[in-house]
């Protein structure tokens, strides 16, 4: 799968994107075959999802805390601190929740997927699987891809809930915004369809697909050396971050 070294960086980037797209088709085509390895998917879900919970929850809490704090000081100027709850919720649901969760997910789970698959390649485990007539894409690739796809929206929900909790903690408990005002403004402004379904679920699903695809692809195309694994891991983070932010803009433009 590794190509001959190309000098032109533009061509290189194009080849990366093209290879990634083709690889996505391979992954999707392997979904029916990966049902045999359902247990592997569950194990990956545990690894990329459940094991990421702590970092997601802590980060969500702090994002909510700092957002409410910043908003309070700005809105105080206009006497509009009552709107804090609403702005915290909208900012987290529409942007911060999916994006920060995806960035954290890329750093926490994406890198380890790339490194794991890359090392499998470097130590010829992938080749061994092929020798044993086990499809490496169906056994290694697709379960990780599916796990990322499932885990991202769930993690994003947890992130958002923790963010709201953090905002409530600072806004109501600490700074003394009225509890009812906090919630009533929020419930009046947050729309189930645009904010929860479009904002959280669709966006994080797209981000989950992008991050897992990049991570698995980078793993499978790792040059089989220790330097190559390091390089691929770095590229996973860089490419994922760019993909997330670019995708976020496109999705926002289309969904809002």
């Amino acid at each position: 799968m590794s190509a001959r070294p190309m000098r032109n960086p533009l061509l290189q980037a194009l080849a990366q994107i093209g290879g990634c797209g083709l690889f996505l088709l391979t992954l999707l085509a392997a979904i029916p075959r990966s049902f045999k390895h359902f247990r592997e998917t569950v194990r990956q879900l545990w690894f990329v999802g459940a094991m990421s919970l702590v970092i997601i929850m802590v980060c969500g809490l702090f994002v909510g805390l700092v957002l409410a704090l910043q908003l309070y000081y700005v809105l105080q100027i206009f006497g509009g601190t009552a709107a804090s709850g609403m702005v915290v919720a909208l900012a987290i649901y529409r942007e911060l929740g999916p994006v920060v969760t995806a960035l954290l997910f890329a750093g926490r789970a994406g890198t380890s997927i790339t490194a794991e698959i890359g090392l499998m390649r470097a130590t010829d485990q992938i080749a061994a699987m092929e020798m044993m007539a086990v499809d490496p894409v169906a056994y290694v690739g697709t379960p990780r891809f599916l796990a990322g796809l499932i885990a991202m929206p769930l993690l994003c929900c947890v992130f958002c809930a923790m963010g709201i909790l953090g905002g409530h903690l600072v806004g109501v408990t600490w700074l003394g915004i009225d509890n009812g005002t906090f919630w009533s403004n929020m419930t009046a402004a947050v729309n189930l369809h645009t904010d929860i379904v479009n904002g959280i679920l669709l966006k994080s699903l797209a981000f989950g697909a992008a991050v897992s695809l990049i991570a698995v692809y980078q793993g499978f195309t790792t040059p089989p050396t220790s330097e190559g694994v390091a390089y691929a891991t770095t590229r996973t983070v860089v490419a994922s971050s760019i993909a997330i932010l670019a995708l976020d803009f496109v999705l926002t433009a289309f969904l809002m």
Binding site: V42, R43, W46, A89, A161, G180, T187, A188, L192
Partner: protein, 292 residues
Amino acid sequence: MSQRPSYAVGTGLFILLGFAALVYLATQTTSVANVHRGASYTVTTHFADVGQLKERSPVKVAGVRVGQVQSIALDPASAQADVVLAIDKNFNKIPDDSVVTIFTSGLLGDQYIGIDYGSSKKVVGDGGTLALSRSSQPLEAMLGKFLGSGGAADNLGGTYAVSARFTNVGSLSAGAPVKMAGVAIGSVQSVEADPVKLDAKVTLAIDKRYNHIPNDSSAAVFTSGLIGGQYVAIQPGGSPDNLKNDDELILTQSAMQLEDLIGKFLVNGSSSGDKSGSASGTPSPTPPTGKK
């Protein structure tokens, strides 16, 4: 395979937690929410206009929260808003002639309900009604009162028309008040450009009660306040003859444009050199800041 149950259970827990978070977000932070909890009793009030009042908005007595708005519904028969307040059981001594008012906290703040205690000995109970209510004041109405030119005259006894020509009427429009000594005596009937004389012809409808206005009175277009509406002010002259229907006011003073005023102010200091400011009778508090 001995390891399997641990991660399977953990994964199940993770998925459950994720869905629990989703359910929490969907039900508690969206419009799906609005379920009240805690020991309280309900009181109904009616408002002609609830403005931006929302469910779960606070209910306050003397600025202290005693409950929240439970529901807002329109009574189709009377076109009034029925507002149900859920008030904490601890505050059960609210007189039944208390006045319920919708307040706004700050200029941009949220609206809440304030209860001013009445003097009745009877307290309002669960399911009771507080009949005395003051609706929310739309910002436009308040601003209108504050900045508006006091409204036009009531024109009870019919009007007579007087015209006046201005080189510039600013943003004067039909319906603007006509004032004498600051009191509205009529309204502007029409504002139109004269195609020949190239100025603005303003027709004023003045109440017939005010038929002793000297016919050499002057008309001026003034602005009430910095951003207020414009009106026509009549300054009485000294002629023994009075204005009659279809007369024309010869002496007029056009609207001052803000740009002109600022221009005058700026040019005043820099152009007239040594005798700046004080000569024209308008003291300039600040020295000219520089050439334009």
